[in-house]
Structures are given as C-alpha cells and as structure tokens.
C-alpha cells in the first residue's frame, strides 16, 4: 500500500495501468489512481516499481507518505 500518482502531473497516458502487476491502477476523473489496498510496490514481481519506471513525467508516481510502507507477506526483512 504505498505508491500514489500526483494528479496534477498525470498526463493520463495510461502506460502505468498496463504495467502494474497487481492491477491496482485505474482511471478516475480524467487521471489515473493507484488503489493502495492492491499496491505492493512491485515487491516480489520486479526490481523496480513499474509505474515509476514507465511514467513519462518524473516525480509523478511517488511514495505515499501518509500510508505505511508495504510489508510482504511472510514477514521478509
């Protein structure tokens, strides 16, 4: 539960939606949003969060500091 999309920066290009392994991203009110209940920061899937890597505008997919960081199940590290 931890990445979010800065709505004012989002170009609505939808690139992140297709890359998210958790199907956590969807369009809402013209821009894209991440469902914090589904986001795993891509831990267990990829080395880097896919939304961050594919987003054309820097600093648009960012850690949501208002929420606790994602904890992988099984208590790893």
């Amino acid at each position: 539960m931890t990445y979010k999309i800065v709505a004012s920066q989002c170009t609505s290009c939808s690139a992140c939606e297709a890359e998210c392994p958790n199907v956590a991203i969807s369009e809402k009110g013209g821009t894209f949003v991440i469902n914090p209940k589904k986001c795993t920061e891509c831990i267990g899937y990829f080395d880097v969060p896919q939304c961050v890597a594919v987003c054309p505008v820097d600093n648009t997919c960012v850690i949501d500091n208002s929420l606790p960081r994602y904890q992988p199940a099984g208590g790893a590290a």
Binding site: T11, S12, C13, D47
Partner: protein
Amino acid sequence: MEEAFQPNEFEAANADQLGDLLQKIADHKGCGTSGGSGKASCGTSAGPADMAPEVWEKVKNHPCYSEEAHHHYARMHVAVAPACNIQCNYCNRKYDCANESRPGVVSEKLTPEQAAKKVLAVASTIPQMTVLGIAGPGDPLANPAKTFKTFELISKTAPDIKLCLSTNGLALPDHVDTIASFNVDHVTITINMTDPQVGAEIYPWIFWKNKRVTGVEAAKILTDRQLQGLEMLTERGILCKVNSVMIPGVNDQHLVEVNKAVKSRGAFLHNIMPLISAPEHGTVFGLNGQRGPSAQELKALQDSCEGEMNMMRHCRQCRADAVGLLGEDRSAEFTTDKIMEMEVKYDIDARQAYQNKVEEERMAKVEAKNAELQTLAGEASDVSILIAVATKGSGRVNEHFGHAKEFQIYELSTKGAKFVGHRRVDLYCQGGYGDEDSLETVIRAINDCAAVFVAKIGGCPKDQLIAAGIEPVDQYAFEFIEQSAIAYFKDYLGRVNRGDIQHVVRGDADIRQGAFIEV
C-alpha cells in the same frame, strides 16, 4: 518593417555546418544513382513510370506516401494510443509529442469504439478520406490491444480505407505478424540514429523488459529493434516509411548513414523532418536551446539522400488526431460529442464515384504538365529557382495570398517543376486587411523563392514582396501548379536571356516553429 529581415544572418550562423553537410552530400551522392533523373524527382511524385505497378497501387491514394496524392486525398489519425515506451528529448508528453503530433493542442483520447465511429463519420463527410492512421499520441505498439481493436472494427465497417501506423519501433518485432494479419500495408518507423552514441543524446531512456534503461545501452537496444522490425516488415511486403527528425549538431550529418541503413533494409520512403523545439513546448531540446534546421539545411540534407531512395518532402508533422488534407486540419468538426450525435450512413459506392472524379482530374493535371514540359525540351540552362505556391489542394494555384496557411515550394529547372517542400506561415490576412508583422513572417518563410504564385493578392503586400525580391504572380490563378510553373520558368529564362531581369541566387528561409494556429 525595413529593419527586420537580414537574410545573411542565417548564412553567418550556419555556414560552417552547411559546408560540412554539403561535403557529406558530395561523398554520399556517389552511392546513389547518379543518372536516374526519373528516380530523383520521384519523391513519389511520379506515377507508374518509375514505380512497380503493385507499389503504385498501394500509394497512389495515400497522401503520406505519395506527394502527388497529397493534393487530392485526405487522411485521419485517431488518438487511441496514449501510452509510450520510450522518452525522446524532442517530445514533452504533458502536451503531446512536439514532432509527431502537434504540441499545445490536447488530443481527445478515444476508445477503439469511438474511433471506429469517428472514422465512419469522417469518411462519410469527406469522400476523399482514404487513409486511417494510428500515430499516438504515444506509441501504437505500446498500446497493442487498443490499436489492433481499432483496426479490427474499421476493417469490418469501412473495408476500403487503408490502415497504417507509425511507431518508434521498440516493440515492432513482437507485432509484425499481427500487423500483417490486419492488412496494414503502410508502417512508418521513426529512426533518428543507428549509432547508439548519437542515440544517447536523443533518447534519455526506454522502458525495456520491465526496467528503465538509459544512455548508450538504451539506444543500442532501440536501434537493433528498429532495424530488425524494418527488415521483418519489408520481408512481408509491407511498405515502410522511415521518419527522421533532423537535429542540427546532434544527428544531421549522421542521417546520411541512417538513410543508407534503412535503404539497404528495404524502406520505401525516407521522410527527414525539421526538429520542432520552441521553449514553450517544454521539451528537453526546447528548454536547452537546441535549434531546428533552416530551410536550406533541411533541403540540402534531403537532396543528399535522394538517390535510389524516395524522399518525402510534403510531411506536415501533423497531430495524432489530425483530420483532412495534409496542411489542413478539420479535427474540430469531428469532436467526440459531435460524432456521437451524427447520423452516419457509410456509402462505399458514393465514395468510389467521388474518387473516380478525382482520378480524372489527376490525369488531366499530369497531361497538362507533360505537354508544358515538351515546350521546355530545347532549352539548356543551369539556372534553377524556387517558387512558393498558395494552394488549397487539387494541385491548382487556388489560394489567396493573404489566406494561405502554408506555401508549397517547387524547384524549377529545365528538367521541370519538382515539389521540394512547404512552409507553414501564420495566417497573414485576417478580416481583409494586412498586418505588417505577419507579412514579414511570410517573407521570411519564402525568402529563398524568386516568385510566389497566388490566386489573388492585394496591392500592399504585392509592393512589399517586390521590395524583398520576390515576384508576386497571379496570372496563373486556378490553373494547375506544375504546368503553370513550367510556363513561368520558360518565361523567366527568356527574360534572363534578353537581359530584362537578372538571375540572382536567393538566401535561406525560416522553418516556422510552434503550433499551428487555428482560425
């Protein structure tokens, strides 16, 4: 306005680079066909004489593949593909891509179903609309599901419309078979380099195998995928056009190598476009002051690559949602709200009947040109000049000087009239009276021309054009462009030979930056 324009300021700034370029050209000319006068003028302007009949059949009504067709046929793009898999320094995705789709104008994103409806609506309204392209605003193959769904819907409801797409090539090898299965027979790949060192200056990153890859490594992957994709397409008989953005000091000289690389892999047409980079576009190049080429630099590079390879010079670098003839944009007539309300009746027979009439007009135009060319047969002269033509289509001199949004540029010599480019200008005449600043812009844009052909022109701009050394010509109003141009050139040579006028070599001209201004 007198103080404004110094043609020599270009020459001072760019003389060194132009010199280098001309040297490259001299070197490169050796590997093209040196004779081939027919091929050289091809730029796909010629007809079956210098083109295999099956190729001509594919391009004859495709405005983006045939210079000749672009006077008569229209295309449309549907913006169903917003996502992209690479970042280019000439593109700012916050305002769409500055080069392949015009900046500042937000495209309406469409679903495949909306796009299919829009295509039917446009095709019913504009019977000469023959081509549907998907060009973004991202990369069509970074949105494969949306792109191919759109093709599937359109091929069912409007089977006479040609399908094409334009891609950066990164994902291309993965989709070649699907492209072939939808009978997409025109694919454009944007290839700006084959040397990864050059590429690293153009592409900050690519998204590849779930990672962001940067620098030379990214450019290496990209060029390998582009060339592999190009080979796979041409093996399957799919016509490929290569677009290259000319970035002075970055890839301008290198594009001669790119031309060789794509030619050897079977590309049909090479379209070298000027970089568009105004600071207000917010692109990396725009912000760091990277300039675009002048008209003379662009033409020199295009000329240098014109051997056995057809060069495209009529590209308008249009938006990913453009509608209409190249150089016009009717997208505002077909917004999603409007098309959803439209009663659409798709009448394939009526479209065909209209297009048959267009073909008759085209034949008449070609015959008129050939007849006029006969009269030049005895002339021998090294003189060549450029002229600017105000036209709104159909290959005729049929636009008022003050209403022209662009001028088409023809090079005239004893070989005939050859289309070599176009210049976009702000609309100079608004509401019937001239605006001096705009006229200045027009003169800058056609400063390399000896004459400007118009359907009509007012007294004031006429005097100022003459003062700038550009002859305003309205005697060919509504006539065919090429026939008129050849007749004018014959007269020009006569006047030079009699000593009535002096032939002078004109200076350089501006390529206008910034977004197209809608009225």
